[in-house]
Symmetry: C2
Subunit: 533 residues, 2 copies
Amino acid sequence: MFKWGMLSVALALSGVADAQTKETVDLDMVSRIRQEAFHRSQVMATFSHLTEQIGPRLTNSPAMGEANTWTRSKFNEWGLVNVHDEAFDAFGRGWEFSNASVELLSPRVAPLYALPKAWTPGTNGPVEGEVIKVEIKKLADLDQYKGKIAGRILLLNDARDYERATKSDSHRHDDAGLAELQVFAVPKDVADAKADRAKKAKEYLEKQELTRATNAFFAEQGVLATISISGWDNGIIRVGGGGSRKAGEPVGVPELAMMAEHYNQLVRAVDQKQAVKLRVNVQARFTDTQDQPGYNTLAEIRGSGKADEIVMLGAHMDSWHTGTGAADNAAGVAVMMEAMRILKAVGAKPKRTIRVALWSGEEQGLIGSQDYVSKHFARYPEPTDPAQLTLPASMREPTGALQRQRDYDKFSAYFNMDNGSGRFRGIYAQENLAAVPIFEAWLAPFHDVGATTVATRNTGSTDHIAFDRVGLPGFQFIQDRLDYFTNVHHSNLDTWDHAEPEDLKQAAAIVASFVYNAAMREEKLPRKPLLTP
Amino acid sequence: MFKWGMLSVALALSGVADAQTKETVDLDMVSRIRQEAFHRSQVMATFSHLTEQIGPRLTNSPAMGEANTWTRSKFNEWGLVNVHDEAFDAFGRGWEFSNASVELLSPRVAPLYALPKAWTPGTNGPVEGEVIKVEIKKLADLDQYKGKIAGRILLLNDARDYERATKSDSHRHDDAGLAELQVFAVPKDVADAKADRAKKAKEYLEKQELTRATNAFFAEQGVLATISISGWDNGIIRVGGGGSRKAGEPVGVPELAMMAEHYNQLVRAVDQKQAVKLRVNVQARFTDTQDQPGYNTLAEIRGSGKADEIVMLGAHMDSWHTGTGAADNAAGVAVMMEAMRILKAVGAKPKRTIRVALWSGEEQGLIGSQDYVSKHFARYPEPTDPAQLTLPASMREPTGALQRQRDYDKFSAYFNMDNGSGRFRGIYAQENLAAVPIFEAWLAPFHDVGATTVATRNTGSTDHIAFDRVGLPGFQFIQDRLDYFTNVHHSNLDTWDHAEPEDLKQAAAIVASFVYNAAMREEKLPRKPLLTP
């Protein structure tokens, strides 16, 4: 059944390509791009600077500011133009941490491994307290703890059974896996999808309300710190934000995520009525007193002939804070920067303007890219419901017809990278069937480095969606997963060593070639019909 | 080729079994053992106490002493007799640590994850210093650093490429894997094996000499601390001992092992001539000023009829220090203790005396078990070469004929567990072909819980070898590896959560049944010819 479906889809697409493609590719230019990408690469130098010199780049942290500055300086050095940062609305405060230490003092003495959640306060020196476990699923659950948690360290989760692996933690697509990607699963109807989004938004708002109330309650009750279980096993610390980035909102108490093997041990000891005592020391600080705007970094190679038309490429430069933001997403940033460098190095003279964007605020809901698209290309009317307005832009439900901005009709396409550091194996066409034969032609010179597949399906969850949802062609590449979703995504292992230099070189060559092709072809990229939400 | 060999071996063994087995098994007793093991298990309570109440049990540490005391109390509580500790010669000093913290101060600020090597000194409060990388492979390499490393923190290893997994990190034997275990690979001739051992001993002695000289040199030169790369990737800290456990020997300076992803970053920064600065704080201490003996814990169920004949079971109780010594080897200890508890609970009245041994000093070279065997059963004459005498007992080359002690002829067999916490799938017969049909008969009532395989091959590296090398039947079980050699062996992940309660229950039932059978059968276990080394 599956195989049959797969084959017919493949045949159908191939038929489309044969009938419609008159797409020409400048193979001389592709050769020059490949040579620069493969033999004179600077992608690892860029990747290294971002990850190990600058380090993790939490949105609005000093390191993110440093990354804006450094990437601008590189763009200028490479001869790009219109290099600048573009602000988006008051994102919140910056935050950074320098150390975290948790010591088990009783029933025995041992160091435990935990790291703070972003946007939570430090401890202001070591604090010691007894550990208790709390169960807070809804607002009413707080009452029972009134007057009982002062000076305590709280465990917020149940213990979790160790999940034994059944497959390798590193994955590369094989032919069968790539073929499977070409099957398009018929999606939900718009009405059902809208209902799903409404449900998600409601849950999000309820969770936000509970978080605010809990943060205020814990601080007011004199809780010393809270500890949650890491999202993954095997000693990996996987954690995002806590507290609040918004000035004026309660930031609560120091919050940490602890490696599962240590966390579970605390829960077992507490369950056995042992007196569990910890010493916690978190050095963390908010770097602003007031909300600050976030900043995307942009730069261009100006076109000639169709200079007012725009081809874009980008990746988010912000990251979570416990690793060095390597696969998520210094990899994407380094590849997009390298693609621009390559185009300059090979002397490309594109007809359309090629613009690179290094987004911020992606991890908090595609905030930087949404804002940019809404200002430059198109937006839906802001909701009037105040609850909807507290949602991240990517979750807000449009309340009227699309409002096109000046450059909407000048826009050709956007290419994004944010699925880890693995090799490109093709591209998702986002249901834009007219783009399929074009991409097939553009991908042909890269079959020999493993990029072969144009899939009609959608892929989501990152900055190309900011374009896609206003009807603009926004795409993301199919990548080998490597250990993105097993070891590194949002974890302390998101570091330099888990990336593969050859994969990043290959990706940069393909991106440079794609944006060059998009900038040179006669027409802008075809658009799919806008699915009004 | 392989398959052909495998099948013929399997057929041959099966023929042996058919022809020779008259082995009878008391299935009523096996049923009672299984019921006690499966329905009224206490193996996890024992395992939990050892790992999470007592914690890691480095040989001669206070926690190891606590484990000796606690296991004696449990044996007494269960009605075992002759419960006592037996000392072995001055092992060295005890050591323990309570915390370790490494902060990157420059080129950026970040916490790094590292834990101390056992038997190395603490820092006596936080110390700060610049990082340099050294290359020390031989004594002459020290000279170049004279006067150049005062106040520095030294990196001892090169960076290591991330090793991407190709298989699941957790493994259970399938039928093909078990069949493969039944192929016996013809080993090296004794002369060649002896030459190999001599080479290993020479390398060991050279390494010891280099370690002693380096420890003295670093301390004398005023080095602040050294950092090595963890043995494994993915944030796991895998580390054993450093410094020296022997009073009077130079302990050197604080030594840490750092997670690979952090260590490699330091090497890259130093290689790029960046000024790398760390703050290191290690709280560790030697708990004795003089060498102390180590202690094995022993207990018995006295036999009736053949009470002076001995069946033994055991596992090492000592562990490394960064995890909680769970798979290595609280699992083995809990299973062996549970087997004794089960036998008492079902009212077993064995003919031979059943003696359980919880060894110490295993991780430093099977020291506790070797000493015990040499005092009770047999020993080879001590070497006269002073260099040989500085080797761990397990590496010393015999210099004459075996000297049998009083109980040599009273000994039947020893059963060991020390291959992690995974399910028993059979037993290694250690080239003792006469034992094969016996074990096959004993294993038959456990086919339904996955234990089916009697392999003729040898397995090594733990305490049954102390018996095997003096010609006594000493065995170890075939176990599912789980993630023993990928995540937990000698690492900070060697914790409660990586064990499977059902596997430990199954193992305890099989051990109880095996030792009961050995204690009841007409004859002692057959012995293989002694391969005089």
